[in-house]
């Protein structure tokens, strides 16, 4: 079924009786060419691109709970490609370009909204570091604008320029950055993959891997054994738990990132604003809620909830730069479990076990990467060689010292 304004009109006039399920609910088969473990954003986009780009459709996506229940369903919806290091920026720019064509591509309105993202700077050294980043972005084909104070005031007159403890001197602006309706990304990819024949199987938890002589030939699940030529794990947030079943230790810790939404408000802010001297970033959803967050809580956890000090720290950051939000109320807080990697950058790689692949370590940046992650993982699975923009996302990069450390804080995951 193709979605369109006309279809909505027609259905409205005929009692909305014609809408079909967005995805099937198939029983798992006994074997597939490729099993994707994890029905979150990255897993579903991997399945979608395997089908669309490489014509591979004998594929199952296995999801422990409900489709999209991972971090694609619990994030702050920001997309951007404002990275600095050559190992990262081309990949995230690929992702941005995929976002820009996504809705027409999978015929689902995920509300990709490029209203821009601004990272504020407060000092000359910060400005210089942003200049380094902005130039790296442009050199990778992305867009970047360095705003001085006057340029920033034009866009965000409501910022507390003069009274702020850390005076706001300008910002690095990526006009193509923005937000996307996060759940719709999962649903759109699921629909696109389902239409092309991929089996999406919910409530099917992987309990073990079939590994013999260093070869993985499938998985054990709560719904039986399923064989596969290739098994692709894609369970960020649960990577440690799942890969432990394959006997692997990872350069990853699990941490919780909290996010918050305010009550609905008439339009307040234009795009995404990120406060560098505090821990705060904010956007406003189409429904009117301010969607905001800050730092991770900072301790290992698999609990999808955080604690008060971070809530307060985030709101302090918000009030520091835009004290007009004081009377807006925080409506809901939630926590997502992050794969915090040792250098802050992800992995899309084979493992040392033949037939077993791993995608994870996205830290708190996985949502924006959803299209490119799926695209590059699909490339790796289909061709057994990394996509050119993802060659550095190797699991063994720390052995040789090939860290991709944007923040420069070293092997301490909670600082990334």
């Amino acid at each position: 079924m193709r979605y369109s304004g006309f279809k909505v009109l027609w259905e409205g006039l005929t009692g909305n009786r014609g809408w079909q399920p967005v995805w099937r609910e198939p029983e798992p088969k006994s074997s597939y060419d490729i099993i994707i473990v994890g029905g979150g954003g990255h897993g579903l986009s991997t399945a979608y691109y395997l089908a669309r780009e490489f014509g591979l459709t004998n594929i199952a996506v296995l999801e422990k709970g409900w489709l999209g229940s991972g971090n694609v369903g619990r994030n702050t919806t920001i997309i951007r490609s404002n990275y600095m290091l050559p190992g990262n920026e081309p990949f995230y720019e690929l992702s941005m370009k995929l976002w820009e064509d996504l809705e027409q591509d999978f015929n689902y309105n995920a509300m990709v909204s490029q209203r821009g993202i601004i990272n504020l700077y407060h000092s000359d050294p910060q400005r210089d570091a942003f200049a380094r980043r902005g130039n790296a972005m442009i050199m990778a084909g992305a867009d970047a604008v360095l705003l001085d104070r006057a340029g920033l005031e034009k866009q965000c007159p409501f910022l507390d320029f003069d009274n702020a403890r850390f005076p706001i001197k300008g910002g690095l602006w990526q006009p193509r950055g923005g937000t996307v309706r996060h759940d719709a990304v999962a649903w759109g990819y699921a629909r696109g993959a389902d239409i092309r024949g991929v089996d999406i199987i919910q409530n099917c938890e992987v309990t073990g891997f079939l590994i013999e002589d260093g070869v993985c030939s499938g998985v054990e699940t709560t719904r039986g054994t399923i064989e596969a030529k290739k098994t692709a794990v894609c369970v960020a947030g649960s990577s440690g738990r799942v890969m432990a079943k394959a006997g692997m230790r990872l350069p990853i810790e699990s941490h919780v990132l909290q996010a918050f939404v305010s009550e609905g408000l008439k339009p307040v802010i234009p795009g995404v604003i990120t406060f560098g001297a505090g821990h705060f970033y904010v956007s406003q959803s189409d429904k009117g809620g301010l969607v905001f967050g800050g730092d991770i809580d900072g301790y290992n956890t698999y609990a999808q909830r955080g604690n008060l000090p971070v809530v307060e720290d985030v709101c302090e950051g918000g009030m520091a730069i835009m004290p007009m939000i004081g009377r807006a109320r925080l409506l809901r807080a939630w926590g997502g479990v992050m794969d915090m990697s040792m250098d802050g950058s992800p992995f899309i790689d084979r493992t040392h076990i033949a037939g077993l692949y791993f995608n994870g370590g996205w830290c708190y940046g996985g949502f924006k990467a959803t299209p490119a992650s799926g695209f590059c993982y699909a490339h790796l699975l289909a061709k057994d060689e990394p996509h050119p923009t993802a060659t550095e996302y190797r699991l063994d990069r720390f052995i040789s010292g090939g860290m991709i450390d944007e923040k420069g804080v070293g092997a301490q995951p909670n600082l990334h």
């Binding site: 709970g65 490029q114 004081g326 070293g410």
Partner: protein
């Protein structure tokens, strides 16, 4: 205007009249009123519009679960959008306006959406607005955004102050209804430290809204007597107007106390206080929330929760209608009928979905058993209802009771799942409660008054007992076990008019069915696809109705269909309250050096360095551009002598028999053999081989060192060294204490620095170059006996010293140094000149020590000892960190002498386009060198040391200025380092 719907009795103070306005109309109420009760007393029915269809809406409830009656409260910068009228305490001069409509409330232009509802079904927007692609941001989205949202922020700085605080107790009791009061009484009498918090301004909970009796008194009187007893006890803290909004780990609860919201003018005091309550045990006595029933057009003004109708009549003496009908599936609805009748309302009908009921109807009420309401009429206010038996009833208020849902919210905050109970047809707290929490009363699914009193007493006894307090074995106060029989009836099935589930977000039963039809069948999919329960009320009255409709569709039971758990906060909390005082200049503490006041007097321009403020430069009269000042300051240092406050550098006092060995482990270069009275540059690596920090360390005695760190890393280096000391080498005798604050330290730099210091250092100390050579240090005294430390170190490359005095002398010291330096033309210099001087010498700072660079990259590779165990040397040997084409820190000079270099530019070989694959490095720092007369820079470039003299591009497309630069030595001035040894 008279209060047309006000009756007799109630807990309001009729001796005082409060004036307020709603949408400009002048109205009156009394102390004790909420905005909602006063509106009802004044006969106001239409108070707002719904989110999507802009349907007319009236007050629905009498508490914090309110979905409809949201207003913009107060004026101008004090405007507070989305404020629930049902919990807003009335004050004199209150001004409220309805929100989310275009044009007058009664004639909202966006009400057209209601006629488009067949097209605006759940999730319709996912299926359209995709063509043409560019129209989303430009056309569709702006329209959606402008019509979405609820109230408006003022866009002005929040003028009110907020505060925070910390409380400790043995027992936190959440909710001061019958269960909470009973629990508090028992716990308090045991001697435990008790906090009793309630969101209402009048403690007593439902007791204030009911006509039930306790021990022969009215419930409300009993509540007041109990509150009086509790407030007389030292070990009890009563906190009305306080919402416990979240349950966090280890017995910590978040609470928000509204201090001045009920006052016309807060008098400058904090408006709200955000408390963190540390409890050893907690008892949740949060009561229950009534839910509605889904039936055709069940959203009109005048259709309300039955318990709320009763509350308005009993507590506030305000009748929501003159002719009231009751629609119920349980016994409790019948009480509304009898109480309303007692207050003088006409009971038009009692419609009960059950076949029989145990209570009697008031005289004159028509009773229809086994019957439902199927439709209603009255666009701006209810006029009548149609029943399933075909009859119609004229009425202006319909009191609906779908049963009571325990307020389990806080039991879920640590991801506990509620469990279904058939007897109350609702979810009750599950077994996985937050550690230390117990639940009592209606929150626990025990819906009678007697049970609430009993459970409160029992749970408090048990909790106090666990903590070692003995409770007086007294039975709880007696009350009747009133009839509360309920039935599982949620939804009047029909194919006719829309039946609302979520009033605020306009989710109807049809939306839930559509979600099912399209495969969004898990509870989470249902919520996300339809937005059920996502509004400002978080679905308190709606969630279960939505579940029941989904259960109907799937043919499963409600518990099989699922439940959603709740997350904090229980009710929305202002962002300003979470921030407390930390805003504006008080966002973070400010650290000042001891010369700050003096520098201010000199007109210095200051810059933030972490939390420090440092003098950036000292403009003199006639200087109009910052460069003039900075050039002058830098030139003065190279020409004669300058003084700079360097107090902000971290200083760590290191003592112990093994101090030298310890330093040998934390620094990459050797420290074991440093002589007493000498200073050495130290390079600190992280364990991954990347440079962490650098600085100088002086050996003051055999077992005594003083380390300096960079300003930015002072705290993290100290932490790291404590880790090394306690966790890696606990056997070493070494002790650390920060001395950053103890010493005011000044760099005295330039060829005349020794001459100047001779005037400051007491004459018994020989500071000649022979006696006090480069990299020497020692304890001296200055200006006639003040203790000081002198270090002969140089950041500028000139003959230079750093001299430290106890901080209490810092202000006097800078003034004295300037005084004695006058004859040498001494100038103070700030961080900008400092930066110029160090770039001229090629010294790395934070821009180069950015956490991504190795000692080798910095040209310091040979400092990393391979002959000892130290942090970072093993992993610094990894292949990728030692590539031939690895980065090198080198200098850059413009090919065209007048070109300005820019930090952040990337290096690209000549003739190649600026793209990622041609990226060879970046410029880290730039300055104008007054010594050389042109712009100079430092930066990292691949294989830099082998490329001296090569001309490359410094590409800065971000600022549109790409220039050609020459790779040069990073040591621009005095490369042999002779000046500093002079």
């Amino acid at each position: 205007m008279s209060q047309s719907n006000r009756t007799q009795g109630g807990h309001i103070d009729r001796s005082k009249t409060l004036r307020f306005t709603f949408n400009g109309s002048r109205l009156e109420g009394h102390p004790g009123d909420t905005l909602a009760s006063a509106l009802i007393a004044n006969g106001v029915r239409l108070v707002g519009r719904s989110f999507k269809y802009h349907r007319p809406r009236g007050i629905f409830s009498a508490g914090s679960e309110e979905p409809n009656a949201l207003v913009e409260l107060r004026r101008d910068a004090h405007r507070e959008p989305n404020t629930r009228a049902t919990v807003t305490e009335l004050f004199d001069g209150l001004a409220a306006n309805s929100q989310n409509h275009r044009g007058p409330l009664r004639y909202d232009l966006l009400a057209v959406n209601d006629y488009l509802s067949p097209f605006l079904t759940a999730g319709f927007y996912y299926k359209t607005f995709m063509w043409p692609k560019a129209f989303w941001e430009k056309l569709y989205e702006p329209i959606i955004r402008a019509s979405a949202g609820l109230g408006r922020l003022s866009m002005q700085e929040d003028p009110d102050a907020y505060d925070k605080g910390f409380l400790h107790c043995d027992l936190l009791i959440i909710g001061a209804g019958p269960a909470g009061l009973s629990a508090a009484l028992t716990a308090a009498r045991s001697g435990a430290r008790v906090i009793l918090a309630d969101e209402d301004f009048r403690l007593g909970g439902r007791l204030n809204a009911e006509t039930l009796e306790i021990s022969g008194d009215s419930g409300a009187d009993w509540a007041q007597a109990t509150v009086a007893e509790l407030s007389s006890m030292d070990n009890v803290r009563l906190m009305p107007r306080t919402t416990v909004y979240g349950a966090y780990d280890h017995g910590i609860y978040g609470a928000i106390e509204r201090k001045t919201d009920h006052l016309a003018d807060g008098g400058g005091k904090p408006r709200q206080v955000l408390w963190r309550i540390y409890s050893r045990r907690a008892i949740l006595c949060a009561g229950a929330t009534e839910r509605s029933i889904a039936f055709g057009n069940n959203d009109r003004p005048g259709i309300m929760l039955a318990g709320s109708v009763r509350a308005y009549a009993n507590r506030w003496a305000a009748l929501p209608g003159r002719r009231v009908a009751v629609f119920t599936n349980n016994d409790d609805g019948w009480r509304t009928a009898s109480d309303l009748a007692a207050q003088g309302a006409e009971i038009a009908a009692i419609v009960d979905t059950r076949e029989r009921a145990s209570l009697a109807a008031p005289a004159g009420a028509a009773v229809s058993m086994g019957t439902s309401v199927v439709d209603t009429k009255g666009r701006h206010g209810l006029k009548g209802v149609a029943l399933s038996n075909g009859s119609t009833v004229e009425c202006d208020c319909l009191a609906v009771s779908g049963g009571w849902s325990p307020n389990v919210h806080l039991t879920c905050h640590q991801r506990g799942r509620p469990v279904w109970r058939d007897d109350i047809a609702g979810f009750a707290p599950g077994p996985d409660l937050p550690d230390g929490m117990r639940v009592a009363g209606a929150a626990n699914g025990s819906l009678t008054l007697a049970a609430a009193l009993r459970e409160g007493h029992e749970q408090a006894s048990a909790a106090a007992g666990e903590l070692g307090f003995s409770t007086v074995a007294k039975t709880p106060p007696a009350a009747e076990d009133e009839a509360v029989e309920a039935s599982a009836f949620f939804h009047v099935k029909n194919d006719g008019p829309r039946a609302w589930i979520d009033l605020q977000n306009d989710v109807t039963a049809k939306d839930v069915k559509l979600a099912h039809q399209e495969g969004f069948r898990s509870v989470e999919h249902l919520k996300r696809y339809t937005t059920l329960g996502m509004a400002t009320d978080q679905g308190k009255t709606a969630n279960l109705l939505g579940l029941s409709v989904m259960a109907e569709c799937t043919g499963r039971t409600i518990p099989e269909t699922g439940t959603t758990i709740f997350r904090p906060p229980y009710t929305p909390v202002p962002i300003g309250a979470f921030a407390g005082r930390a805003r504006g200049k008080e966002f973070r503490p400010t650290r000042l050096t001891t010369s700050h006041k003096w520098a201010e007097e000199r007109g210095a321009v200051f810059v933030e360095a972490g939390q420090w403020l440092r003098a950036q430069w000292f403009p003199q009269s006639g200087e109009t551009r910052w460069r003039e000042s900075v050039d002058r300051e830098a030139a003065a240092v190279r020409g004669s002598v300058g003084i700079c406050d360097v107090t902000t550098l971290g200083k760590i006092d290191i003592q112990g028999r093994d101090a030298a060995e310890f330093l040998n482990k934390v620094y990459a270069n050797g420290f074991a053999k440093l002589a007493v009275g000498k200073v050495r540059y130290g390079l600190m690596l992280r364990e991954d081989g990347i440079v962490m920090d650098d600085g100088t360390t002086a050996r003051l005695g055999e077992n005594h060192f003083v380390m300096t760190t960079t300003t930015a890393n002072a705290v993290s280096v100290f932490r790291h060294m404590e880790f090394c000391r306690q966790c890696l080498w606990p056997g070493l005798d070494v002790h650390l204490i920060s001395a950053t604050e103890q010493w005011a330290q000044f760099a005295v730099a330039g060829p005349r620095s020794r001459d100047l210091l001779r005037k400051a250092v007491d004459p018994e100390f020989d500071i000649s170059s022979e006696a006090f050579p480069f990299m020497g240090c020692g304890e001296v005294s200055v200006f006639g006996g003040t203790p000081a430390r002198l270090f002969r170190i140089s950041f500028s490359g000139e003959l230079a010293y750093e001299i430290a005095v106890p901080a209490r002398y810092g202000d006097a010291m800078i003034r004295a140094l300037m005084e004695v330096g006058e004859e040498f033309g001494v100038v103070p210099y700030g961080t900008e000149a400092l930066s110029v001087l160090r770039i001229e010498k090629g010294h790395p700072v934070a821009a180069e020590l950015c956490g991504q660079t190795t000692a080798r990259d910095l040209g310091l590779g040979r400092m990393v000892s391979k002959k000892k165990d130290c942090i970072g040397n093993t992993l610094s040997e990894r292949s990728n960190l030692n590539r031939e084409d690895g980065l090198s820190l080198v200098g850059f000079a413009p090919v065209m002498r007048n070109d300005q270099l820019s930090a952040g530019a990337h290096f690209v070989s000549r003739g190649k386009p600026a793209s990622t694959e041609n990226d060879e490095g970046w410029m880290t720092s730039v300055a104008y060198s007054p010594e050389l007369g042109h712009s100079i820079g430092l930066g990292f470039i691949a294989g830099g040391h082998e490329r001296m003299g090569e001309i490359i591009q410094a590409a800065d497309p971000l600022r549109g200025r790409t220039i050609e630069v020459r790779i040069v030595s990073p040591h621009f001035v005095d490369p042999e380092g002779e000046r500093q040894r002079a």
